[in-house]
Structures are given as structure tokens and as C-alpha cells.
């Protein structure tokens, strides 16, 4: 399902570096990320909290908090660099070509505005619709995301809806202008497990209907296994492994990815077996180790891992599977 190689990707992020200002000076939190999203492709971005996955996505539409700044790299969207385009051009992209769905629908919706008015905003500013047209379209959108009785719900305030309904409203807002790319930033974290599956199914369904690309950020690899085409695993602000989803589950190559997969509970396992976990914690910004950022926690780490940073290299004999690990790469060379 990977996008054809010849076609230029819709989103092409290269060497994206993000720094945070601290009292001790600037500290790198995203270190030269490379990430591509093809037309119609769904990419999962997976990593622990604090690994820079949300900041990477926010930086694309330049919505980073004040003390966090992009220090380098490019992010081409449909051939234009998002990080360098003019503010008015950027405004056309936000909500128009790139839709966003945020983590917590309670705080991400304006509590003092009716959901209909919030839903109409992108339509009014991108599609130049008048109020009546926007309202009609807003009702359509609410129906599309599966909200019952949209004609009545459109005048509701966010606090009058349930968490799942609010997230559906957020998704409708992201989809309002038929964006080419929908970025969903942990959209199910604040929801109940049963609702989580509903939201995943909803996006899966809509993605086909609307033929859009989706980037789904999560720390829950199992949740998106059936949704995404490709997964990029982030660790401490770098992509450590990038592979088609089937390949990743079948042949996890980076020790961190293996650790992540091993921590997913499986029903088929024997009762006695325990879940494994990765010991230690990711490095704090500003205290990154000199070599591979995972080396201090890695069971397989060798001398070279503490010295140099591994590059993201293709895995031998695979299609589109890349990994950033000296040990894994050497083992593959030896096997080949």
C-alpha cells in the first residue's frame, strides 16, 4: 500500500531540528528528523511521551509554544516549504490543506463558543462561505463523523457533549475543508477504550472516502496496527526505525522497537509470562548522550554506539524498511 516511489511525497520533512530555551541555554528536543508522507498514505508516528512527536507536527504549521523554536531543516508540503512560507500563505494551509485533530477535545474546543460556530470558522475563512452555507456544510460534516441529530447538536456548547462526541467534532473541524493531510495528535488518549476503537474506525473509513493522507501520532502501537500503512518510531527526537506496518510487526529491527512491541500484551501468551518493559527513562533535553540516544538504555550497545550517532539506513532485502542502529546494521551485513 506504500505510495509509488516515483511520485513525489505530499509531505517531505528533512533534517527538522527543534530547540527549547532553558535556563542553561538552548537544548535540542527534535534532532534532524526525516519523515515522508505519500499521497493517500497513512503514517503512524510512535514514541514515548516527550520524544518530540507532537512538537514535530506542530512545527509544520508553526504552532510551537513560545520558548520552542525550529532551528533547522525543511518541511515541504506539496512542493512548498512550510517553515519558510509567508504568514498569509501559511494561514491558507492551516485548516485548509492540513487539518489538525488535537489530543484533548475538552480543552481544544473553545468552551464559550457553540460547536457549530467553531465548525463554521474554517469554512468561512477558507471557502468564503456565508453563514447559511457554512451551517449547512457543518451539519453535513457532523453527520459524516457520526454525530446523531446534527441539526440540534450544532447549537450545543462543548461541555454539553460527551468526550467521544467532542472528539468527533474535532475531527469534523479537521476535515471541514477537505484537507490533503489530516494530522491527528494522540486523538484517543483522553477517551475510553471502547470510544478509542470507534474513533480509529471512523478515521479509517473517512480516509478512504475523502482520499486524504493521515499522520496519526500515538504512543499506542497496537491501537493503530490496523489503520496505518507505515510506522515511524521516534526516540528522543530522532526517527530510529521507519517501516511498512506489516514489516515492522514481523521484523522489528531496532532494539527500542523490539522493546515497544514486547510491551504490548497478547491474549495468546501464557498466563505466567510477564510483560516486558524497557528500563530507564529517555534522556532529558539538553542531556543527550554523545552517541546513539538509546545507547544508555540498550542491552546490545557497543562502544561505537556511545561514540557516534547512527544514520537511518535501509534494511537489506526489504522494501522501505529503514533503521538507525549500528548493531542491527552489522548483524544484517553478517547475515547477508
Amino acid at each position: 500500500m506504500t505510495a509509488p516511489e516515483i511520485q513525489k511525497p505530499l509531505l517531505d520533512v528533512r533534517g527538522l531540528t527543534i530547540e527549547i530555551e532553558t535556563r542553561r541555554g538552548p537544548a535540542v528536543i527534535v534532532d534532524g528528523i526525516n519523515l515522508t508522507v505519500g499521497k493517500g498514505e497513512t503514517v503512524g508516528v510512535v514514541g514515548e511521551s516527550g520524544c518530540g512527536k507532537s512538537l514535530t507536527m506542530l512545527s509544520l504549521v508553526r504552532l510551537l509554544p513560545n520558548k520552542i523554536k525550529v532551528k533547522g531543516g525543511t518541511a515541504e508540503f506539496a512542493g512548498r516549504d512550510l517553515l519558510r512560507m509567508s504568514k498569509s500563505e501559511l494561514r491558507q494551509v492551516r485548516g485548509g490543506k492540513i487539518g489538525f485533530v488535537f489530543q484533548d477535545p475538552m480543552t481544544s474546543l473553545n468552551p464559550v463558543m457553540r460547536i457549530g460556530d467553531q465548525l463554521c470558522e474554517p469554512l468561512i475563512y477558507h471557502r468564503s462561505m456565508n453563514k447559511a452555507e457554512a451551517r449547512t456544510r457543518a451539519i453535513e460534516l457532523l453527520r459524516l463523523v457520526g454525530i446523531p441529530g446534527p441539526e440540534q447538536r450544532i447549537t450545543a456548547y462543548p461541555h454539553e457533549l460527551s468526550g467521544g462526541m467532542r472528539q468527533r467534532v474535532m475531527i469534523a473541524m479537521g476535515l471541514a475543508c477537505d484537507p490533503e493531510l489530516l494530522i491527528a495528535d494522540e486523538p484517543t488518549t483522553a477517551l475510553d477504550v471502547t470510544i478509542q476503537a470507534q474513533i480509529v474506525d471512523l478515521v479509517k473509513d473517512l480516509r478512504k472516502k475523502l482520499n486524504m493522507s493521515v499522520v496519526w501520532i500515538t504512543h499506542d502501537l497496537a491501537l493503530i496496527a490496523g489503520l496505518v500503512d507505515r510506522v515511524a518510531v521516534l526516540y528522543a527526537g530522532t526517527v530510529v526505525e521507519d517501516a511498512p506496518v506489516g514489516e515492522l510487526f514481523a521484523r522489528p529491527t531496532h532494539p527500542y522497537t523490539r522493546g515497544l512491541l514486547a510491551s504490548i500484551p497478547k491474549l495468546s501468551d501464557e498466563r505466567a509470562s510477564r510483560l516486558s518493559s524497557i528500563g530507564g527513562t529517555p534522556p532529558e533535553p539538553g542531556r543527550r548522550p554523545k552517541g546513539c540516544p538509546f545507547a544508555p538504555r540498550c542491552a546490545l550497545a557497543e562502544a561505537v554506539c556511545h561514540e557516534r550517532v547512527p544514520a537511518l539506513e535501509p534494511v537489506v532485502g526489504s522494501n522501505g524498511h529503514r533503521v538507525a542502529c549500528f548493531v542491527a546494521q552489522r548483524q544484517m551485513m553478517e547475515a547477508a
Binding site: 488535537f102 464559550v112 463558543m113 470558522e121 461541555h159 474535532m170 473541524m173
Partner: protein, 318 residues
């Protein structure tokens, strides 16, 4: 809603009664004999004629027990009778209703000026947080906050006289469309403006970090619309709740401003009543002041659900 307002009014009555009892007690036990005070100012030797004074006291009902006197004062009050001034003998109601419009007009203008000036300034400061613009606005606000009206007033008058040729002093009252209102209005608004600038700034900074502002920007909403619709709306709620405090600031400030600029309002009436121990007047003014503050707090409570739909549910259940 009506029931809620009625309850609030009923709860206010015991508080204000207690305050008035305290003031009344101070007048009764502290201020000295009101009749003697009257006659000390009158020609003749009546003040030194104890029998005659006793007779007048009896006639005026001043020899009854304290609580009886207070009770009859309150009964009269309920019937709209505020009594007579001890100094001039005029009806307190007439004195107050002559002075009140001056103060009310001035105060209302100050509230409007505060809203028009302070909210935008606070917003500008917050949107430019930690820049020179922010420091300039915040610094001026702190400065205005720290300068009492009785200092700002005379100092501005000095400045104005130095600037204006002919040395005409803006003194006295000519209605709200008279140019002389400008200086007292400005001085009276200084502290409320400072208060609201700081409040608005803090509230905007808080809202700026809210997720829904990021959502609005992610939708591609123009910055101006983000500022006015998504930021200002939620900010108004905490700012409007300061109305009671503003009212107290203005009532307090009016005392000095009216004195300094020679305005014939309630503030000046207060000061002259205090110097003359004219307690019927002081009691009436205390009542009005307390009523104003209560009213503005009540107004805030009534406005609140209109500004914040989340408050609606709790309101209905009350």
C-alpha cells in the same frame, strides 16, 4: 433568576443593617450631643442652657434608649425618610439627591473610560508579553496604581497650569460635557484602569496558553479574529467579575477627587458631613455606598452565565 436576585437582596439587608448599626452606635456614643452641636453653631446662649437642651432632646426623641432610636431610624428609612441634616436642617434626601447625580455621572464615565482604555491595553501587553511594549504598559499601570488620587490630582493641576497660559484652574462642576470634567475623570479612572490592565493582561496570558487558541490558529482563523473571538471572549469573564472591586475603588477615589477638584458630589458631602459630625448624612451615604457595591456584585453574578455558558447549569440549579 428573579428568585436568585431576590435572595441576594435579602442576604444583603442583614449585612447593611449591621454596618448601619455600627455607624449609628458610633454616632450615638461617640460624636457628642447632636443638639449641643447644633446650638453651638447657632447664635445666642442656647448651648449653655441645659434645661432648654433637655427639652429639645425630649422633643426630638433623643432621650429614648439606643435601640429604640435605631429602630425608629430604620422604620423611617423604610418609608423613605432619611431624616434631616444636623448642620443645615435640610432633608438628607434632598442633599443626597442633589449631590448623587454628580458622583454617579462621574463614576459611570470612569467605568466606561476604564473599560474602553484598560481592556485593549491589557490585551496589547499580553500579546507582546515580555517585550518593551508589555513593560511600558505594565510599568505605567503599576505607576498609576501607586499614585493616590489626592496626589495625582494636585500634581496634574500644577502641570496643567504650567502648560496652559492664563492660569485658569479646572475647578468645579459643569456636567459631563464640560471640559472641566476631564481632569477629575482621568484621576478617578487611574486606579481602576491600572487594576483592569493588570487583570486583563493576566487573563489573556492564561487564555493564550489554552489549547483552543491553538485549535483556532490550526484552523487558519485570521489573527484578528483569534484575538477578538477566541481570546477576548473568555477573558471578559474574569475581568467583569472585578466590577465590585472597581466600584469600591471609584467610591473611595471619588471622596478625594471631588474634594481636590471642588465637585459638589457625594464625596465632598461625605467629607463635610464627617467634619461636622452630621450623622444622618453619613448614614445615608454609607447606605448608598454599600448598595452600589452590592448592586455591582449582583450585576456580575447575573452577567456571568451570559459570558460563560458553563455557568448556566449551576445557575439554574440554584
Amino acid at each position: 433568576m428573579l428568585r436568585y436576585i431576590a435572595t441576594r437582596l435579602l442576604l444583603w439587608i442583614p449585612s447593611v443593617l449591621l454596618v448601619m448599626l455600627a455607624v449609628y452606635a458610633m454616632a450615638y456614643f461617640g460624636a457628642g450631643d447632636p443638639i449641643k452641636l447644633i446650638f453651638l453653631r447657632a447664635p445666642g446662649d442656647v448651648a449653655y442652657n441645659p434645661e432648654k437642651i433637655e427639652a429639645i432632646r425630649d422633643a426630638a426623641g433623643l432621650n429614648r434608649p439606643f435601640l429604640v432610636q435605631f429602630g425608629s431610624y430604620i422604620l423611617n428609612l423604610i418609608q423613605g425618610n432619611f431624616g434631616n441634616s444636623l448642620t443645615s436642617g435640610r432633608s438628607v434626601w434632598a442633599m443626597v439627591s442633589a449631590a448623587a447625580p454628580v458622583s454617579f455621572k462621574l463614576g459611570l464615565c470612569a467605568v466606561v473610560l476604564t473599560a474602553v482604555v484598560a481592556v485593549p491595553l491589557g490585551m496589547i501587553a499580553a500579546m507582546n508579553q515580555n517585550t518593551k511594549v508589555d513593560y511600558a504598559i505594565l510599568g505605567s499601570a503599576l505607576f498609576l496604581w501607586a499614585i493616590p488620587a489626592y496626589v495625582a490630582g494636585p500634581l496634574l493641576m500644577v502641570l496643567l497650569i504650567l502648560i496652559l497660559p492664563g492660569g485658569s484652574v479646572p475647578y468645579g462642576w459643569g456636567g459631563i460635557f464640560d471640559v472641566r470634567i476631564l481632569l477629575p475623570l482621568l484621576v478617578l479612572s487611574f486606579q481602576p484602569i491600572a487594576l483592569i490592565v493588570r487583570q486583563t493582561r493576566a487573563a489573556v496570558i492564561e487564555v493564550l496558553s489554552e489549547d483552543f487558541v491553538r485549535t483556532a490558529r490550526a484552523k487558519g482563523v485570521p489573527e484578528m479574529v483569534v484575538a477578538f473571538r477566541h481570546i477576548l471572549r473568555p477573558v471578559l469573564t474574569p475581568v467583569v467579575t472585578q466590577l465590585g472591586l472597581i466600584m469600591i475603588t471609584i467610591v473611595n477615589g471619588a471622596i478625594f477627587v471631588e474634594l481636590v477638584f471642588g465637585l459638589p458630589g457625594l464625596g465632598r458631602l461625605t467629607v463635610s458631613a464627617l467634619t461636622n459630625s452630621d450623622y444622618p448624612v453619613i448614614l445615608a451615604i454609607t447606605l448608598i455606598g454599600s448598595f452600589l457595591v452590592m448592586l455591582s456584585n449582583l450585576l456580575v453574578d447575573v452577567l456571568y452565565p451570559l459570558l460563560d455558558p458553563r455557568a448556566n447549569d449551576t445557575m439554574r440549579s440554584r
